[in-house]
Structures are given as C-alpha cells and as structure tokens.
Amino acid sequence: MSSASVQPRKPAFGALAFLRRQVLTVYSLLFFAYLLLPIAVVVVFSFNHPIGKFNYTWQGFTLDNWRYWDGVPGIRGAIILSLEIAFVASLIATALGTMIALALVRYGFRGRATTNILIFLPLSTPEIVLGASLLTLFLNLNVIFGFWTILIAHIMFCISFAVVTVKARLVGFDRHLEEAAMDLGANEWTTFTKVTLPLIAPAILAALLLCFAISIDDFVVTYFNSGSKITFPLFVWGAARIGAPPQVNVIGTAIFLVALTAMLANVLLQNRRSKGAT
C-alpha cells in the first residue's frame, strides 16, 4: 500500500483541507437534513393557508388550522378511536409480553424454541400478510368488523415487540438481588413484586410506549380489519385521495411533538443516570 499513511502528513490548510478531514461529519449533517426534511414539510404545511383543496404549495401563513384542528368532519372521532385502541392494546400486549419474557428468561421448559419462533415470526412477516390472514379468519367466522377486530389485531402485532423489549432488560439482570431477597425470607411473590418488578419497570414502560406508538401509527393491518370504523391513519388515507386538509398536518405535528418530548426526556434521564453512575 502507499507509504503516505506511515509518513507524518504535511499539515494542510484552507477550506478544502478542512472539508477533506471533516468529510464524514459534513456528510452526516447532510444526511440529517435529508432525514428531517419531510418532518419540516409536515410542520410548515400545518401553518399553510391552502387555496382550493390541495395542500401542496405554500400559499400563506395562518394559525386557523391549529385553532380549528377538528374542523374537518370525522377527524375528531378518528383520533379518539386511535387513542382508545392504542391505550387498551398497549396495556394488554405489554402485560402478555412481559409474562412471556419472564417465562423465556427465567425458566427452562419444553417448547422454549417453538415459543421463540412464535414470537419472532410476526416480526418477520410483512404487515399485509398479517392483515390479510386475520381478515380471512374474521370473514370465515362471520365476525363483525369494528372496534374489537381492530383491538385484537393490534394486540397481536404488539405482543412480540413487548416481549423483545422486556427480554432485553431481563437478560442483563442481576439474579443475586432476587436470591438475596429469598435468603431474607421473602417468598416468590413478594420477591417478584418488591424486587423484580421495580427493576424491570423501565423496560415495561418502554414496552408500553413502543406498543402505543406502533398501534397509533398502524395503517395496513387496521385497514384490512376495521370494517367501517375509521382510525386516524385510515382517516389520512381517505383524505389523501381527495387532497388531505392541513388539519392532518396539525395532528401529525402534534403526535411528533409528544413523541419527541417523551423520547428527549428519556434520553436526558439516561444521560443523567449514566453520569451519576460514574
């Protein structure tokens, strides 16, 4: 290879040399600009004052879309349904997922490998197949589509995410703490509620938030199993066909801000915790 890498390099000056050394940093900044561009578009166009029904070109600034966020028929009901489904589905899926994770990490039992595959498969199946197969089940059993079919579907695809999240925490968990509790005379249930549960609580919370986020964002599986019910993503889909109103951007921005705040708080908390540990 070239000997240049061994010899000390001549110090280079000027903007070009600086760029050469920082090429990766510059590229990364461009990458983040690309990544955040559509988000910026969503936020900016929530303040647009569109003429006609298409919200594609910038026409003028207004706060009306925010003031009348539910000014489009159907949008309020869709948001409420999405929140209800996400709330119930994330609670149930996290409970079921946590139990599975505990069993998988804590106990040796027959059928472990099969259980692992059963958890992994929904994650690696295209959403459209998940939605379509549930649809055929409900059709063949003459189930009426609506709130319950959506809820069942959401719990189904959330469970695996909950298991994976809680499992990750349980694997790196110090069993000695539990043994100590047992040595001190606590029975299994007390040990679980007083030691295990508080220790895995952050993972359970993370699983809850993850399930909530996945549920509220889901379009494909819901689309196949909703009947005439309309969740927020379904509302957006329907609105997109005739030109989505700026209120869609308002809700999109609001969801983004809530999620961002929650995640930022989490990052700051982690940083503080790791600082405290050192």
């Binding site: 106990y107 039992f109 494909v220």
Partner: protein, 288 residues
C-alpha cells in the same frame, strides 16, 4: 403465592399461556385460514368452495408477474440505497458521536414519530410537479421541461428508502458501536492503512448489523403498497397494491390469498438465498 411455589414446573406455562394463545389464535390460525382460502374457487356472490384450486397460484404468477418482480426490485434497490446512505452515518455516530450519541440516535428514529402515511404525503409535497426539487432538477437539465418525479418509479423507491431507513441505520449502529477500539489500534500498529483497517477489521465486524438491517428493511419494503399508491402511477404498483385491491375492493379472496402466500414464500426464499451468501451464523447471531 404458594400455588406458584408448589407448581414450579407449571409456572412458565401459566406465564406463557395467555400471550402464546393470543398469537396462536390470531396469528397462526389465520395463516391456516389464508392457506385454505387460497385453494378455494368461486366468487363472493355464489360463495367459495374448497377444491384444492392450485390453479390460483399459477394464475397469480402468470397475471401479476410484473408486480411481483417490481416488488422485489424496488425493495432490493431501496435496501441497498438505505445501506449505502446510512452506513457512514452509523459509523460517524458510533465512533465520533461521543456524548451526543443518544441524541443523534433520537434524530435517526425521528421519522417514526410522524405518522407513516403523513410522512409519505410529505414526500408527495416535496416531489410535486412545481416543487423545489423538480424545479431545481429542471434548471440543471437533469429533468426535461415537462419532466416529473411524482408518479415515477424514482418517487416510489425514494419513499420506500426513506420510510424504512431507521430499520437499517439502527442495527448498523449497534454492531459498529460494539467494535473494540483497540482492534483498530492494533491494525494501525501493524501498519494497516485507514482503508485497509476499515475493510479488514471494521467492515467484517459490522456484518451482523448489515445482515439485520438488510432483512428489517427488505421484508416490510417488499410487502409495502402505500408508497406505490401515494407516490407512484398504476404502472409502478407493487404486489401489495394488487393484494390490497383484490381483498378489499374486488373481493376476489382466493386470488388475493394465494398472492399473499407467494409474497411470503418469495421473501423466505430471498432471505434463505441471502443467508446462504452471508452465512447462517450471521443470521442467527442477530436474531432476536
């Protein structure tokens, strides 16, 4: 609870039961129904009858070959693009991120905080006919005067690449982050050039991340129909669009069911071939 104490062998099964049952009834059994439906013939008015109609599969492949090929093609291109675009950034965060790592990762997943459909609609705005991107490309003569981006395969691939990018970037970051810096120092001590050290040390060690990212991106991309619907024209439609319309608009359930199975089989074959090339060790090493 004394009950758990007395029945220790039973405890794991009790813990598993509700969740596993849920997945069995609402994931495994439906797949069975889907398979059953795919071998039926008939129509919605006169009902369907099961008669081992394997012909559904051949008809699907014959009539919708273009859409199947397009799905694999678009998903493949988008996956490679996502890998090339996000590798340098994952590298940058892992090795130069310092105390900003967590914050930068937050930026990587930021697109997920905007509803999937809404961020795809944002691309519709960005690529629209009189938008900034099209105007710039036209003035650079990359696009002709009447040229457009919306309703082209470029737009669909752009959308897919963007929408699944975090699935690629995160596993890449995780595998790069785990690389021991001393390995690279050792390579340098042994007079490896920077490029050499990267090719012989960093890249091989990050391969698990490449494999995981590729699968996590390719699988959902191949089944996607939202990008093709919102950013493409009918001749950019993927197999997902066909399955969706057959199920929900044309109520041709057997055809739609057989296509879903072909899609799944196609993905499994693609994953198996891929696993063969990179080695199964990499694959299972990254499995959840």
């Amino acid at each position: 609870m004394g009950f758990f104490h007395r029945n220790r062998q039973l405890t794991p099964y009790l813990l598993l039961a509700p969740g596993v049952l849920w997945l069995a009834v609402f994931f495994v059994v439906p797949l069975g129904f889907l398979g059953y439906q795919s071998l039926e013939s008939g129509n919605i008015d006169f009902g369907y009858a099961f008669n081992w109609a394997w012909g559904n599969y051949w008809t699907a492949i014959r009539d919708y070959r273009a859409q199947f090929v397009r799905s694999i093609e678009y998903a493949g291109i988008a996956t490679v693009l996502a890998l090339l675009i996000s590798y340098p950034v994952a590298y940058w965060i892992a090795f130069r991120g310092g105390r900003w790592k967590n914050l930068l990762l937050l930026f990587i997943v930021a697109p997920f905080f905007v509803t999937y459909l809404i961020r795809t609609l944002a691309w519709q705005t960005i690529l629209s006919d009189h938008g900034f991107v099209v105007n710039t490309l036209q003035s650079l003569h990359v696009l002709g005067p009447g040229g457009r981006l919306l309703a082209t395969s470029t737009a669909v691939v752009t959308g897919i690449t963007y929408n699944f990018l975090p699935f690629m970037a995160l596993p890449l970051y995780v595998s790069l982050e785990q690389i021991d810096g001393r390995m690279l120092e050792a390579a340098e001590d042994l007079y490896a050039s920077k490029l050499h050290a990267f090719l012989r040390v960093t890249l091989p060690l990050s391969l698990p991340g490449v494999v995981a990212g590729t699968l996590l991106t390719f699988i959902p991309a191949a089944g996607d129909f939202i990008n093709a619907q919102l950013l493409g024209a009918p001749d950019n439609h993927m197999i997902g669009n066909v399955i969706q319309s057959k199920f929900l608009e044309l109520t041709d359930y057997p055809a739609a069911a057989s296509m879903s199975f072909i899609l799944m089989a196609g993905i499994l074959v693609a994953v198996a071939v891929y696993a063969r090339i990179v080695g199964t060790e990499q694959l299972t090493g990254t499995a959840v």
